[in-house]
């Protein structure tokens, strides 16, 4: 009897803990997807969108670069002023020291990513190093491991935010990223535009493949209204601009995380060529 009571009591305590764990927000954290970049079709606007999604996703930049004061809040601060100031800072002795202009800023951002300790923004260094060592990880090394194209995309994004015409080179065909074995056989990366649109259920809201859905605006002839970059933006960050007569927050906000870059390009190519 005592035994039963004790066991029942202990199990009840356990169940309370378990229940609590189950009512909290449930988030599963997947390993970052290996992006497959179809380099031929990426223009500068596409690079900027890609950069933004890398900045907020795989690059883990927003883990630190946010409003919490751990690192300069790159999404909020006035980059147009900040970057030229950094180049003029007498403490700055890096590759772009003494230069100015967009190209120098590109070099500065690049250096910030691949050699963070080359220049440490005052007050943000590792504790006790007197701002000589940066806590920021080297972005082209593990665990983040962005490749050269991805780094350029992030630079383009930041340059764009600083109001500068991006100076990074567009990826050329030779740069095609050889996808990691592990992800290439990932079962669910769509390989045709139709599959990709099916996979993300666009036709449920937009009139595609004759679905006549009208939750979202018709996309026929969208290529005439939108540039490639704007279109990418409309898919990845729907709330940035809202189509007239429609409401925000209806279109899913997480395509940037769900889509591989190849899927995005497939869909964009397809939509651009949709006849009116």
């Amino acid at each position: 009897m005592t035994f039963l009571r004790v066991v029942l009591f202990s199990v009840a305590v356990l169940l309370v803990f378990t229940g609590f764990a189950n009512v909290l927000p449930q988030i599963q954290s997947d390993p970052p997807k290996e992006e497959i970049i179809d380099t031929g079709s990426l223009d500068m606007a596409g690079m900027i969108s890609l950069g933004e999604s890398l900045f907020k996703g795989k690059g883990t930049c927003t883990l630190c670069h946010n409003g919490m004061g751990r690192a300069p809040d790159l999404l909020e601060m006035n980059l147009a002023e900040t970057f030229p100031e950094r180049l003029k800072d007498p403490r700055y002795k890096g590759v772009a020291a003494g230069k100015e202009g967009p190209k120098a800023i590109e070099e500065y951002i690049h250096e910030s990513m691949v050699d963070p300790s080359a220049y440490v923004v005052a007050g943000f260094g590792k504790k006790g190093t007197n701002d000589t060592e940066s806590p920021m990880p080297t972005i082209n090394k593990p665990p983040v491991e962005l490749n050269e194209i991805e780094i350029n995309a992030v630079i383009a994004f930041l340059q764009d935010r600083a109001g500068i015409e991006p100076t990074v080179p567009l990826p050329s065909a030779e740069d095609v990223v050889v996808p990691d074995e592990s992800s290439s056989e990932g079962p669910d990366v769509a390989t045709t535009a139709e599959d990709a649109i099916d996979k993300f259920g666009c036709a449920a809201c937009h009139d595609l493949f004759g679905s006549e859905a009208d939750t979202g605006p018709p996309l026929a002839g969208i290529g005439k209204r939108m540039s490639r970059g704007d279109l990418m933006d409309a898919i990845l960050y729907p709330n940035d601009t809202i189509a007239e007569g429609y409401e925000a927050d209806i279109m899913p906000q997480d395509f940037a995380e769900q889509m591989s870059a190849s899927e995005l390009t497939l869909i964009v190519d397809y939509l651009l060529n949709l006849p009116e």
């Binding site: 609590f20 909290l24 390993p31 907020k56 630190c64 946010n66 504790k127 090394k141 593990p142 997480d254």
Partner: protein, 589 residues
């Protein structure tokens, strides 16, 4: 007397040798250090698929179960030895009997630990052969040292246990305690070695960062940045854990026994184990703080992933568990006031303490943002700043924790005071001095919390240090004053066994909550590596490289805990079985 010194020095010599052997163990095989091949890069197909079983869950369960058992069997000899020592110093046989009983309980668990450890190794090699191959390459001969030590551990354990009665009195006792010391040294060494494997996977050292090729000695690999913080953390946690489990055992025996003498014995045992558990538990937050600080120092990114990323919610559950543990421990201490006649005098303060503890608990578990819509979560993707919210009110939480610790200590202080009547002339004044310490100390804790609240982030973190120092000052300060105050005090009879049945359930909450908490922390620790087997060195490309949701993790942990509880029931039953037979054979004579 001479003989005794001889025995002691022989024992110490044995310990010294054992301390040195691991040193060589760590260094073994350095000549072949140049293993220039890098870490393997397995593709998804390199992970064996075995009947569709989730390899990760198997390994997870095995590892966690092994850890539970190992923590238990490592900690019991530790405080068994301490209790034995107490018995020798005080000449009170109760201690010695209890130490012996402690050991009896852990004996049956010992072989099960080894068994599950074998199962863990097997499942690791089955499901993660490439990873294990790499680990073997990195740690080389150390695995053999581990195996050898394990053998020694078994031998010493058996000698220690079975020679108990033979080496019970006089000089021989010292010899016996030397064996116990040896046993504990080996046990801790075993744990430290295993810790090195776990921390290497989190903060690898001694390998080439680009390729993972082994460049350092075994010692360099072992002494990676997180090794020592984890050693300390696990050492303390083991003590608390072992105490909690034995406390549960004593509570059960207390409830099951009818004989008042035996009831008294188990009440006393429950009290002592609970004391040990709390003793190990109180410094744990500080050890945890050190571990977290080292994680930040090693990789800020890993630190933020832990505290601000999706794992932030886990610390809310952790808060709930620790709060549960504190409330249970306090409840038990308050019930204990019934054991003395003076206790009633203190019992009237209990309600105020209860208010602080429960209030602190509530502050602690209130998450900063309860409303997290699925859309917010989706926006998070890689950005976690919304979840950093809880840190925003970190000062409030720190204040709550420190006040809870202070008042838990106060409960304990009331209990030990209730059994002694001070005789020194300045007893009342001394008490007032302590009251002043509490009052000012609490004001200081709250004040530092407020200060942290209104100041920028760096200050928030900075202001938590004075709070911790204040808590420690209150505890240490009042113990010191009380030691003098209670000099030559008249002992009051403690009626062991005069305890409510309900109070014993508090002693069951402790092991259950501890077990689950340890499981949870294991999940957090492993998740910090995200999708890496060896952080930044060897990627996990298996299908199960993701971090499961809290709910999934909670369910798994509960399942493992239930398994562990079943094993413990079996172990206790075994140790009872032995006792039962003995009584029957004794009866006819």
């Amino acid at each position: 007397m001479k003989k005794q010194t001889l025995h002691v020095s022989l024992g110490l010599l044995a310990v010294l040798l054992l301390v040195l052997i691991p040193q060589y163990g760590f260094a073994a095989g350095d000549e072949v250090a140049a293993v220039l091949e890098g870490a393997p890069k397995p593709s998804r197909l390199d992970y064996p698929m075995i009947w569709g079983i989730s390899g990760r869950t198997v390994v997870w369960s095995m590892a966690q179960m092994h850890l539970f058992l190992a923590a238990f069997v490592l900690s019991v000899p530790l405080f068994s030895l301490a209790t034995e020592f107490m018995g020798t110093v005080t000449g009170d046989d109760r201690f010695d009997n209890m130490a012996h009983e402690f050991m009896k309980i852990s004996m049956a668990a010992y072989s099960l630990t080894a068994l599950v450890g074998g199962g863990l190794t097997l499942s690791l090699f089955l499901f993660y052969p490439q990873m294990m191959g790499y680990m073997l390459k990195v740690f080389r001969g150390q695995v053999l040292v581990y195996a050898a030590l394990f053998g020694f551990e078994s031998i010493t354990l058996y000698i220690y246990y079975y020679s108990w009665d033979a080496l019970r009195r006089g000089n021989r006792k010292w010899f016996h305690m030397s064996i116990g010391l040896t046993l504990n040294t080996i046990g801790l060494t075993l744990m430290f070695i295993a810790n090195a494997w776990a921390t290497f996977m989190m903060s690898p050292a001694g390998v080439d960062p680009a390729t993972g090729a082994v460049t350092g000695t075994i010692w360099e690999v072992t002494r990676n940045p997180l090794w020592n913080p984890l050693n300390l953390h696990r050492f303390l946690a083991n003590i608390a854990y072992g105490g909690a489990i034995v406390g549960g055992y004593a509570a059960y025996m207390f409830l099951a026994e009818k004989d008042p003498v035996k009831k008294a014995h188990y009440d006393w045992m429950g009290y002592t184990s609970n004391f040990i558990a709390i003793l190990g538990f109180l410094p744990l937050p500080f050890a945890g703080y050190w571990l977290m600080a080292e994680i930040y120092a090693y990789s800020q990114q890993m630190g933020i992933t832990a505290m601000g990323g999706i794992l932030a919610w886990l610390f809310i559950i952790q808060a709930v568990l620790i709060g549960t543990i504190m409330m249970a421990a306090n409840y038990y201490l308050w019930s204990g006031l019934m054991r003395t006649d003076r206790g009633a005098h203190y019992a009237r303060y209990v309600k105020y303490i209860a208010v602080v503890i429960v209030g602190g608990f509530l502050v602690w578990v209130t998450p900063h943002t309860l409303l997290l819509t699925s859309q917010e979560i989706q926006q998070l993707g890689g950005t976690h700043h919304k979840l950093l919210g809880p840190l925003g009110i970190m000062p409030a939480k720190n204040t709550a924790v420190n006040l809870m610790l202070v008042f838990t200590f106060m409960s304990f202080q009331m209990f030990y005071r209730s059994s002694r009547i001070p005789t020194v002339s300045w007893a009342k004044a001394g008490n007032m001095f302590i009251v002043a310490l509490y009052v000012i100390g609490c004001i200081n804790i709250v004040g530092a919390g407020l200060y942290g609240y209104i100041t920028p982030t760096v200050y928030k973190v900075g202001a938590s240090v004075p709070q911790v120092v204040t808590t420690l000052t209150i505890i240490i300060g009042s113990v010191i004053i009380d030691v003098f105050r209670l000099r030559g005090s008249k002992p009051e009879t403690v009626h062991w066994g005069r305890m409510s049945e309900r109070s014993q359930y508090a002693l069951f909450v402790l092991p259950v909550a501890f077990t689950w908490l340890m499981g949870l922390m294991g999940y957090i620790r492993s998740s910090l590596r995200t999708h890496w087997h060896v952080y930044t060195i060897m990627k996990d490309n298996s299908a199960e490289a993701y971090i499961p949701t809290i709910g999934q993790a909670g369910n798994t942990i509960t399942a493992i805990t239930l398994g562990f509880m079943a094993i413990m029931v079996f172990v206790f039953w075994l140790s009872r079985l032995g006792a039962t037979r003995q009584d029957e054979t004794e009866a006819p004579s």
